[in-house]
Assembly symmetry: C2
Homo-oligomer: 183 residues x 2
């Protein structure tokens, strides 16, 4: 049982999902291709952590909808109480910054401008996601969900994504302000 496996179980604690849904939902927090997800789900199912039901759809291909078993819930709780591993960030741009003074000034500006645009786009996507969350029928009338509310986690994660993205935007903008426009 690796981290990705527990992540899949963790998503299934909220609601039942297909493998395709799980892939889309876990990717912002743990990059993984479908070629990694599907075999893992098969293994989790074989080991009794999850089960699935075949669901026919009219407008889309049929799917397998997974849900947690009692064994899966137990494993999830035990995992939750373990200390979490340190976050691991891999960013090619950071490596490029090492040799910035070595590159053409125009290339360097472009690198920051591209990254700024990327983060601006992500910021909008996260803002949309937050609006979407708040428009859900199960969103609490009080304005924000209590810790025991099923949407509490999703709310925290979306806010985190927005805060992190804003920090990245501020950094890119600051760096650009230090780089000459011509040169």
């Amino acid at each position: 049982m690796n981290t990705l496996s527990y992540g899949l179980l963790s998503l299934l604690a909220q609601s039942d999902f297909s493998g395709y849904d799980l892939m889309l939902r876990i990717q912002p927090f743990w990059p993984a291709k479908h070629s990694q997800i599907y075999p893992l789900l098969a293994k989790l199912e074989q080991d009794g952590y999850i089960r699935y039901e075949l669901v026919n759809q009219r407008d889309k291909p049929d799917k397998k909808v997974y849900s947690l078993t009692a064994k899966g819930k137990d494993a999830l709780r035990a995992w939750f109480d373990q200390p979490a591993a340190e976050p691991a960030l891999r960013d090619e741009m950071m490596l490029k910054v090492f040799c910035m003074s070595y590159a053409q000034s125009k290339s360097a500006r472009k690198m920051f401008a591209d990254r700024l645009a990327y983060h601006e786009e992500r910021r909008q996507a996260y803002a949309d996601k937050l609006s979407e969350l708040q428009r859900r029928p199960d969103w609490p009338a009080e304005g924000l969900p209590a810790p025991a509310h099923p949407l509490f986690g999703a709310y925290l994660l979306t806010r985190k994504a927005i805060m992190s993205t804003e920090a990245s935007i501020a950094w890119c903008a600051w760096a650009l302000s230090l780089l000459p426009e011509e040169g």
Copy 2:
């Protein structure tokens, strides 16, 4: 030539380094064990991107000090002008947040408190690194390095680390403020 390889070349654009130094310097930006670094350096040397000189030390074990070749410099410039891959963050804690409402409230608080402490420690380490940078003999008298200055990249990266860490601290503190102390 993978991203880590270019990252090693990028570090060598600043200054010559031993494999051990490269490992320590690249790790905050691209997690990699020495078991990955050393074979890669051997390959980069065989392919003519870098060369090394054996250096005897009195107070420490002897080492190989690597430097860029002309081929390495060319490869580095070509890489710099390519668009950078999107950053990839893997954080086990984010996966745990998915099933927060499912866990004991005490465990959840501990998770955020632990992460807050982790980031506070990192923040101090980055602040120390910035002070260290500014106390270097080659630090510019003007107060901050120009884009062409060899320390410009290191300065940007340290500021980025501080800004990101502060965003994470703010998020953890905000989350803790939403979680009840008892329960």
